[in-house]
């Protein structure tokens, strides 16, 4: 058996409570995105495209839809004889069972799994970011710098810097300082939540942290600062492509709208960097005679009789005659009835917007229609974001 040089571990257990109604029944990484994808397709496709064939996926909150979606990993070419995809929910041990109490704890509880794979490096990823990135360059960089740990960083606007883990680096890229969500950021280099560690190095810190009763078992809050305090060789790997944390309704909506630009920063149509997804067996979409479609993404199996502008339409969506959908995201198998009007909305899966109904806020904020909802005429107006 070939040895696995680098094992990827995707943290996919978060609740995503800031996504409100969208994550009531599914984990954040399983939230639909971009017309045919789910958020987790991005890190999984990145792994495949970077030549990483062994991936552990740590799940915890509402994992059923996510597990079902990942299946045997075949959609991302991860159904391998050696390696492939491993779904890792918390499990019971001799002395009882424990939930994953933090990002670091989730990895700590799977030390046995990682030892079984026996990798040189471990790549830690989040299951809730939208980006395309070749991890193999980052791993090369990590080797070249003879680093203990390498953190993926990206420049963010200064006014947003306090939402992230912020880093200061020396000229050679070595990290000199790290602040988790600082009130007064010292730089605008933000951690992307992507880490490469030498496994033996990470393991010792995880074991040590597990003994620390004050620790909240988090990479950003505990592990990284401890490593830095011990003067470990930690480097920042700068990424300059499109990267978006879609942890909130606003950012999720924005990331969808970003795809509609004339030349989007994240190009889903790039033949050299396919984003893979589980494909429904649906025919091409159908645009009827008097329909109008502009500045939009439309997926297979949709039937458009009405008007669509500046929107992302998923598979199997039906938009009836006279209906108008603008600035919105409409998730799979939702029906928009005749003369209905949908503006600046994120409509979940299997919803029904009835004849003549209006979905949209007057104050310009984004409205969410949760999975399976039926919206009838009138009552929908002014409904608050869940």
């Amino acid at each position: 058996m070939r040895r696995t040089e680098c094992l990827a571990m995707i943290l996919a257990g978060g609740q995503g409570s800031r996504l409100g109604a969208l994550t009531k029944k599914i984990a954040k990484p399983a939230v639909p995105f971009g017309g045919k994808y789910r958020i987790i397709d991005f890190p999984l496709s990145n792994c495949h495209n970077s030549g990483i064939n062994t991936v552990g996926i740590l799940t915890q909150y509402q994992p059923l839809a996510l597990h079902n979606y990942i299946g045997n990993g075949g959609a991302w070419d991860l159904d391998r004889k050696d390696g492939g995809v491993f779904i890792l929910p918390p499990y019971a041990r001799e002395k009882g069972a424990e939930w994953y109490k933090g990002t670091a704890d989730a990895i700590y509880q799977n030390i046995n799994f990682i030892e079984m794979v026996d990798p040189e490096y471990v790549l830690i990823l989040s299951g809730d970011h939208i980006y395309t990135m070749d991890y193999s360059w980052m791993i090369e960089y990590h080797k070249m710098k003879k680093a203990d740990a390498t953190i993926g960083v990206i420049e963010v606007p200064w006014e947003e810097a306090s939402r992230f883990g912020i880093m200061d680096t020396a000229e050679n890229g070595r990290i000199t300082e790290f602040q988790e969500k600082p009130a007064k950021p010292m730089s605008n280099l933000a951690s992307m939540g992507i880490y490469v560690f030498n496994w033996s190095f990470l393991k010792s810190y995880l074991e040590e942290d597990a003994k620390d009763s004050l620790s909240s078992r988090d990479f950003g809050k505990n592990i990284i600062p401890k490593m830095l305090n011990a003067d470990s060789r930690m480097f920042a790997y700068a990424f300059d492509g499109y990267w978006k944390d879609v942890g909130t309704i606003d950012s999720l909506w924005e990331a969808n709208m970003d795809l509609l630009k004339d030349k989007p920063d994240l190009d889903l149509h790039d033949p050299d960097w396919r984003v893979f997804a589980v494909n429904p067996a649906m025919p091409p979409h159908f645009i009827a005679k008097n329909a109008k479609v502009k500045s939009s993404l439309i997926s297979e199996g949709a039937m458009i009789y009405g008007e669509v502008e500046n929107s992302v339409i998923f598979s199997g969506v039906k938009i009836a005659k006279g209906a108008k959908v603008v600035n919105s995201v409409v998730m799979p198998f939702t029906t928009i009835g005749k003369n209905a009007y949908v503006d600046k909305a994120v409509v979940g899966q299997n919803c029904e917007i009835c004849v003549g109904a209006k979905v949209g806020m007057d104050n310009g904020s984004i409205i969410v229609v949760p999975e399976g909802d039926v919206v009838v005429a009138e009552s929908a107006t002014g409904k608050q974001v869940g």
Binding site: L260, P284, H285, F286, I287, K294, S295, S296
Partner: protein
């Protein structure tokens, strides 16, 4: 349908549709925006829980093998049974060349299969069917052989075998494309029978120098066996000429047909390509069209089918046309009544127009 094995016969006459079959077999002709002809017969088998499928390959088999590969996209990559390729018989004598010879060459495969019945289909008919009902009919009537037909207008016979049936479904006559009636029962090229009977017919026909399964195997033996006709009600289109290909494609732009073929029954599977959703830019204007994933549309498209990965530039006008995978129509291009085969590039400002009853065909990979 655990008791039924399937064989899809791809050794079909493709002479009348030469332009699109010069580098592929009839079965791998792209249809309906993202499918190949074989997908319909194969998906119907899979959806009917037939798990042992032999594909009798034609001489030009590369495109079909590239399409089907392990059979995984149809859930046919199995430990036991699943998809099995049956290459054409190595012919010593070309005069004997025909599907009977190929079936004869592969009798081993059929004999060693565990299922007791065999369902034989061609691959040039578009439909979405559950063969379970055919099996039930076959068992209820006690037929030796069941043939599936649908009812077509006289002008749509397109060379198929016309059946005459008695009230109970017993077939009394089979004739190739000859009827005086306004409507006719036309065979869809689907046969269900006991495996041993099938092997007997093949051995007997081969021994008597027969070459064609329908003519020499079935029609010449029609007095000997109880052959019943099962009527299929759904959407059916037979592809055997450029005109029928164009017409069937355009018929799918009728939402009723689209709904019947794709959404009312079980799904039709095809090779997964992982294309992004189609992108419509600000200047796009599309009506009455079918658009597959991976397309980028900036121009005007009406009454047309765009396959996966087609690029339609600014100021382009596409009308009544079928544009196959990965074609590029650069800015200001005008096409009407045109079929563009795969990978065609039409450079800026060019105008192409075919006749409304006979489309202009641009061959694969051509740059105009």
């Amino acid at each position: 349908m655990k008791t039924v094995m399937g064989i899809i016969n791809l050794q079909e006459n493709e002479n009348s549709i030469k332009e699109i079959t010069s580098n592929r077999s009839l079965a791998s002709i792209p249809v309906a925006g993202r499918y190949r002809l074989i997908d319909f017969a194969l998906s119907s088998m899979v959806n009917s829980n037939i798990q042992n499928v032999g594909v009798l390959l034609p001489k030009k088999s590369r495109s079909i093998m590239d399409h089907l590969r392990s059979g995984k996209d149809w859930d046919l990559a199995r430990k036991r049974d699943g998809l099995c390729y049956l290459p054409p018989a190595e012919s010593i004598n070309d005069a004997r060349n025909g599907d009977v010879q190929s079936f004869h060459y592969h009798l081993d495969f059929i004999e060693h299969s565990t299922q007791q019945n065999v369902l034989i289909t061609g691959s040039n008919v578009i439909y979405n069917m559950n063969y379970d009902e055919v099996l039930r009919f076959h068992q209820n009537t006690g037929a030796d052989i069941t043939m599936v037909y649908n009812i077509r207008e006289q002008e749509e016979l397109t060379g198929g075998a016309v059946l005459e049936t008695a009230e109970n479904g017993l077939i009394t006559d089979i004739a190739i494309a000859s009827t005086t009636q306004p409507k006719a029962k036309v065979s869809m090229g689907i046969f269900l029978m006991n495996k041993n009977l099938f092997m007997d017919i093949i051995r007997g026909t081969y021994a008597r120098a027969g070459t064609d399964f329908l003519i020499d195997g079935i029609m010449k033996n029609s007095g000997k066996y109880a052959i019943y006709g099962y009527q299929h009600e759904g959407y059916v289109a037979t592809i055997n000429s450029t005109a029928s290909y164009y017409k069937a494609s355009m018929d799918l732009l009728d939402p009723d047909n689209w709904q019947k073929l794709f959404l009312d029954g079980s799904p039709i599977y095809t090779k997964v390509k992982d294309e992004a959703p189609a992108k419509y830019k600000q200047s796009a204007s599309v009506s009455n069209s079918m658009v597959a994933n991976g397309c980028i549309v900036e121009g005007t498209v009406e009454n047309s089918i765009l396959f996966r990965g087609v690029k339609v530039g600014k100021g382009v006008h596409v009308k009544n046309s079928i544009i196959l995978q990965k074609c590029q129509l650069e800015d200001e291009v005008f096409v009407e009544n045109v079929i563009c085969d795969k990978d065609v590039v039409i450079t800026k400002g060019k105008r192409l127009k075919g006749a409304s009853n006979y489309p202009l065909i641009v061959e694969k990979g051509v740059v105009i």
